[in-house]
Subunit: 432 residues, 2 copies
Amino acid sequence: MTPLPEDLGRSEMREDLLQRRQKVLGRAYRLFYESPVVPVRALGVEIIEADGSRLLDAYNNVPVVGHCHPRVVEAQCRQAAILNTHTRYLTEDIVRYAEKLLATFDEPLERSMFTCTGSEAIDLALRMARMPGRPQGIVISSHAYHGVTALAASVTPSLGASWQREPWIRTVTFPREINDEDRGEAFARIVREAIDDLQRSEFGFSALLLDMALASDGVWLEPEGLLGPASREAQAAGGIVIADEVQAGFCRTGTHFWGHQRQGVTPDLVVMGKSMANGLPVAGIVGTAELVDGFGSQGRYFNTYGGNPVCMAAAEAVLDVIKDECLLDHAGLVGAELQGGLRSVARASGARARVRGSGLFAAIEFADAKGELDPKACLRALNAYRRAGILVGQCGPDNTSIKIRPPLPFSRRNVEEIVAVTRDVLASEAAD
Amino acid sequence: MTPLPEDLGRSEMREDLLQRRQKVLGRAYRLFYESPVVPVRALGVEIIEADGSRLLDAYNNVPVVGHCHPRVVEAQCRQAAILNTHTRYLTEDIVRYAEKLLATFDEPLERSMFTCTGSEAIDLALRMARMPGRPQGIVISSHAYHGVTALAASVTPSLGASWQREPWIRTVTFPREINDEDRGEAFARIVREAIDDLQRSEFGFSALLLDMALASDGVWLEPEGLLGPASREAQAAGGIVIADEVQAGFCRTGTHFWGHQRQGVTPDLVVMGKSMANGLPVAGIVGTAELVDGFGSQGRYFNTYGGNPVCMAAAEAVLDVIKDECLLDHAGLVGAELQGGLRSVARASGARARVRGSGLFAAIEFADAKGELDPKACLRALNAYRRAGILVGQCGPDNTSIKIRPPLPFSRRNVEEIVAVTRDVLASEAAD
């Protein structure tokens, strides 16, 4: 019997649902938190649970303009009732969206292709980077997460023990303990060594692939221009740069629409996902005509649902809302308060916690008494935020940082709330 | 300036849109037909073009219960306004859908996982088949199409010249010229040879992967039980069988909900896509607990948009409509008239055309005077249907068959229309 949403507020009904879930979904399905979130509705930056409790969402970047934004809902629903086909027929929606999207990029990024997921987009970008006639070697960061297709998983060392290192992959570890002004050049030297190693191998050097927030490496967004030197090394060596914007894009950093613009990178290919259509499956790549058309000339590629009119309607509404609600400026202003507030309580707390980030993307990294990164402290903090009614995530090596990455309409009042809770969480850690 | 939909009825506006499209979309984007379809709205089995003309849709299987079915539209829109999150939170929708979906399968298929595209689902199934500790060799049909991720493309020889044959792949060619009763056993012997070859190699034999309609090999659905012998060979050899149901599933063949049930196959993994949510990006796999949980235990797999509440709402509405509108029976009854009508006019036409199929899936194969498969005749026919206001597709080796695969609510009157047009198309070919 189907429970009503509010029935799931009762623990025996939740237990029953958990058992039904385990029976029909594969074991790969996991839930966040010791006590799972049971959402029944959401609006803006708030999620309501079955038991009526209200959660502040400081984690989900997919609903980038806010959960259930009425303009996005209206756009996708209006289109769903009229027409939903595919790109082998001629419609204007995908062209209009591509034009608006490309207007947010700088030259020479002038072609776009649309997929449904970020994994598909990474897979496609790597197929372009490694197309016949090009070198095959790829440089990635040592804790990178890029997706779940077989090829995307091969560039995802954050899978841990189950990751199988392909011989054409080189990983580079971001230099954590170097001061701000030298960090970019130090990373460039590490990248250069990996490139040299590939160039001495049978594979050659094809591409440097980096998440533009280095999120799973711990969130590295300062100072501006941080990844410029590494990126220039890659291009000087004859390779291309693939910017993974799945987390850093769509105004996240508060200073630029795209992470690569903040990081001083001029990519040859850009991969987008998550935030693109506020929750409908839309992802894609943008790149140079040379790479994108070169790939298109060599063979067939058709993504049945990719760029369909309903998905494009939602994606276009997201771009329109970002513009009309001035969400880039908003992320900059409110993000500055978030970053300042978190740093201030971290300093005052006496906890071994370090804050990094820019705009509405922050990481709080935990260390133990010996100065080693501390996954247990981070997990305690994650659940403490949950108990205080705030959703955050984890990132960094071995999940040692709290990841704060809310929908963009996060308000000053929301900042005050999360900073106050952070003060309590860190006080409790300092007392441990 | 954004044109109104009806403006695209004017050829200079279409030309302008085509130029804008070429400028922003990669060269991989191609359009069907000499004269592209310019849809502005659709309902049921009909598409209206910008110039007001009406097309009968006998091609698109994605809108399986009919374009813009009001129940599916309503379900997805209601959910979009309330909540759209992901599977790391506990909601009932995905569980309820998985239960309804699994009820259409026979034992031992008891676990499900959801992705956004068929390509992702194929990629995931192959990752399961080839997980560490299992043999790596895969047998596929020689004209197979399975998708566009790097791994899915590696099992897609229908890509033609751009297909790169991996050493762990063996292809088997379906025996075209053998009579009905011997065809299944003949194919099984060919499959057995490929398995033996893999077992002698360093790769071993992991899986037989087949589209359950063999659509891109020309549509082979008769007699019932056709693929049973090959499937049993694979399992007797210690391998698994992966059934690709992206085209054959969802009542398409008119006799069974799934193609493998018609073909006499007991798969270990089933891959679904296209028709699952009437156009929203939903795909997935169903499989044995051993394979699906084995994979889930070995490592992480999380698909951000996969199984989200909005997609699940649409997918559940599709299952409900299929049941409430008796679309399996409908596909059987109307499909029998379609198959009979096409065969009758093909015989009477004097054209070198052969009809195959079952239910609402038919192929009309063209040959030249020497009896060779004739792609030019097929392409002429494709455009002749288009001029007559009917959308059909192409399939088979070198696109030598017309593919008829309409939304399931195709009516008797629709059958009369396509049979009448087929009579004219074949008459014109016979006169050539």
